[in-house]
């Protein structure tokens, strides 16, 4: 079990190219995140929890889908940690598992309105489904 | 370890300010290492000319190690940085000529690292001993 966890952490770090050890815990990512209030775990916690290998709660959390990929945390991080990339790698790890799609194509028609641009739909599919 | 007759001859160039002092500290603490290691004192590792290393091999050394201050701690501020580049290139060239890479080494040993000095020398002597006699740089010399 321990081993699987280690492997998963390693894979997430490889996918994202993020080194969470660079984090100096300043919390600027969380200070800047526009989705902070919607999240259960916040950007700085993502970084810390990945570093300590505490992946389960993160992968089960809805917070993964609250990230807007706006990259404000990436650009403002003084340590170049790039939390958004880490969140993306976690999200991909979850949705790549069979049956774990967060957004099912069948659900989409109900979410649409006349004005909704295609861009929104493809983006959401990329972010929420595999 | 099995006892064998073969004893490698190792020349260690040590900079006066860090590594030579580190070797002294190993002595103060009675940390032993093989007597095959013979130290030559130089003011700075950057004084070590590749010609000295080749000459040592020519005359029968089996391994040559250069010890200097840790990068950033050089008594002369930058000497060991030059050593690092020179030796990186020289060692890579020796390897290119088919000389075993384990026969040459650079190690940074500070004046406080007596234990590291002894460990390094033990390890290096063991590595060189495992390779056996240095034939590649020595062999053809007049077949004596």
């Amino acid at each position: 079990m321990q081993n699987k966890k280690e492997l998963q952490k390693e894979q997430i770090l490889r996918m994202s190219g993020v080194n969470p050890r660079k984090c100096m815990r300043c919390g600027k990512c969380s200070g800047t995140c526009p989705s902070y209030d919607e999240m259960e775990y916040h950007p700085h916690q993502f970084v810390y929890m990945v570093e300590t290998g505490d992946l389960e709660p993160l992968m089960n959390s809805d917070s993964l889908y609250k990230c807007l990929s706006c990259f404000a945390c990436v650009d403002r991080c003084p340590r170049n940690v790039e939390p958004a990339k880490l969140i993306e790698a976690l999200r991909l790890t979850v949705i790549r598992e069979k049956g774990k799609n967060h957004l099912k194509s069948d659900d989409i028609p109900a979410l649409l309105d006349d004005e909704m641009p295609q861009q929104a739909i493809v983006s959401a599919m990329r972010k929420y489904s595999k | 370890m099995q006892m064998n007759e073969y004893k490698p001859l190792i020349v260690a160039f040590c900079c006066n300010w860090c590594s030579y002092a580190g070797a002294d500290l190993a002595g103060n603490n009675r940390l032993s290492y093989p007597a095959d290691v013979k130290i030559i004192r130089v003011p700075c590792s950057c004084r070590v000319n590749p010609m000295f290393i080749l000459r040592a091999f020519q005359k029968g050394a089996d391994g040559v190690i250069i010890c200097g201050c840790h990068p950033g701690d050089c008594h002369y501020t930058s000497g060991n940085y030059y050593t690092r580049r020179r030796m990186a290139l020289l060692f890579s060239m020796l390897e290119f000529l088919g000389i075993e890479r384990e026969r040459t080494r650079v190690e940074w040993v500070s004046a406080a690292e007596g234990a590291k000095f002894a460990e390094t020398m033990n390890d290096f002597a063991e590595t060189v001993a495992a390779l056996g006699e240095n034939k590649r740089l020595e062999d053809l010399r007049c077949k004596k």
């Binding site: 300043c26 | 004084r47 050394a61």
Partner: protein
Amino acid sequence: MQRIGVFVCHCGTNIAGTVDVKAVAEALKFEPGVVVSTDYQYMCSQAGQEMIKEAIIENKLTGIVVCSCSPRMHEATFRKTAAAAGLNPYMVEIANIREQCSWVHKDIPTGTEKAIILGKAAIAKVNLNAPLTPGESPVTKRALVIGGGIAGIQTALDIADAGFPVDIVETKPTIGGKMAQLDKTFPTLDCAACILTPKMVDVATNDKIRIFSYSEVSEVNGFVGNFDVTIKRRARYVKEDICTGCGLCTEKCPQKKVPNEFNLNMDNRRAIYIPFAQAVPKVATIDPESCTMLKTGKCGVCSKVCTVGAIDYNAKDEFITEKYGAIVVATGFNPISMDKFDEYAYSQSKDVITSLELERLMNAAGPTGGTLLRPSDGEHPHTIVFVQCVGSRCDSCAEKGKEYCSKICCMYTAKHAMLIRDKYPDTDVYVFYIDVRTPGKNFDEFYRRAVEEYGVHYIKGMVGKVSPEGGKLKVRASDLIDGKQLNIDADLVVLAAAIEPDKSARPLATMLTASMDTNDFFTEAHPKLRPVESPTAGVYLSGTCQGPKDIPETVSQAGAAASMVIALLCKDKLTGNPCVAHSDEMMCNGCSTCEKVCPYGAITYIDKEFRMPDRTTKVRRVAQVNEAVCQGCGACTVACMSGAMDLKGFTNKQIFAEVDAICK
């Protein structure tokens, strides 16, 4: 052929316990050049030394080898012994048969065998030794201090106090530096001007000190003890010796809209100005960029009102050259530009300021007369947010900011927060921090007082964005301990901008051949043991040019630098290390390769005329080593492909001989 004596020490049982010293002495007897070889209980003892001296005289020895403890222990002792017997001290070699033999090897055969080899190597070397005499050079008994901030002022005062003349070169019209701009100082809260200006006056009145203000160093030649420095005295269009500093011109000048850099451009000065009331020298300066007279030839008001006729519109830059024995660098720091941190809206709102700007806003001589008012509307701010570490502690890949901790921000922010809460108790003060770093005497106590007595809100977390909305500054930040994102409507945001070395430092370092780190701080000769010296002999470091520091640290370093300078200037002559590089001119190609690796700038090139065998002459470029500057590292000897460059005391031939002796 040398006549060599070998002296094997027992060191009680320290050596003799594992090495058969008699066998060693016996074996070494037959080495080339050896005429006497003997052993003794303690060579370093009075009796041992006497024995060596007698042997030298009796056998007319030209060199000796002492097989004993480490040369780091007793090389100096035995050199003195040799010198006392009339032998050149550099004809002594030590074979280290204690630390590197008897103490690390177990059995007598092994120890003895190795001791003999080490002895042979030392003999082989001493066979090739040549007597060396340390070079001597005279010392010019005057020091130059570059930079007139508190570091430069303190250094100059201390040197002058020892009786040596000192010149201060300062680029600004006045000395005083950053400290002159500060309001109060931590952790005592005494007023900066009250403790600085008396020192400035001391400088002005000290007849050993000359101030070259509004000047810069333009060229440095020479070496320790003998620097030739050219100083550019920029035209200030006011005759310094005549101007009385009455200030009338600065009141009458019609050009009123020149941003006042002393107040960080938060108010205006005239085109002719005296930076502040206590300026030293207290003379006016015309800023040629803004002066109508200098730009168009029309105006001349200052000249008309000046009662002593000090104005000179035709003044030109002047260059003076002076000799110095030592140079102290005290070029100081500046806060970094906030351009790359506009998430804090520095460029978008006047109410986002740096801490140095806050100093001026709180200073009685500042633009608001010491009342803390918002720059945008002149109102009292009621909520103030301090942001720590702006541009400090950044990862190099982030491509903005500095990697280091600026060191002073935690403390001055605590000071600001405390002073504000003290003077305006109805103000809410928030400090967003990553860590609070307070290692210093009374520092943590000071910070705790800010929290406990003054009720400053310290919040662990960073500000992510500052948004100027509706006359307020909306501050979005994280509170990591409470696990909340905070939104604070602030009236004033103060950024603790990282500090960086003054821009003049880099070109100066090149002129001085003094090394710098990647951040443009000057490198010290040794980070622990020689912290106020540059590796370049005769160049000393004072204050923040070497790294971030607060005032007490700066002043102690300034004093330390001064004492190093005094120790140097006290000497009539400098004795060098004779183990220095030497270039064989006949072999030198003049290719400049050695110069590139010399960390001290000790190598220069001259065109030298050589007489050829056919009686013609030939001019060639050849390297010359300045023995007073060379420290003897030997980097140049390996860079030199022709072997023209060699190191005395560690020559190629000597090292080859040692290698040969060991490998035989």
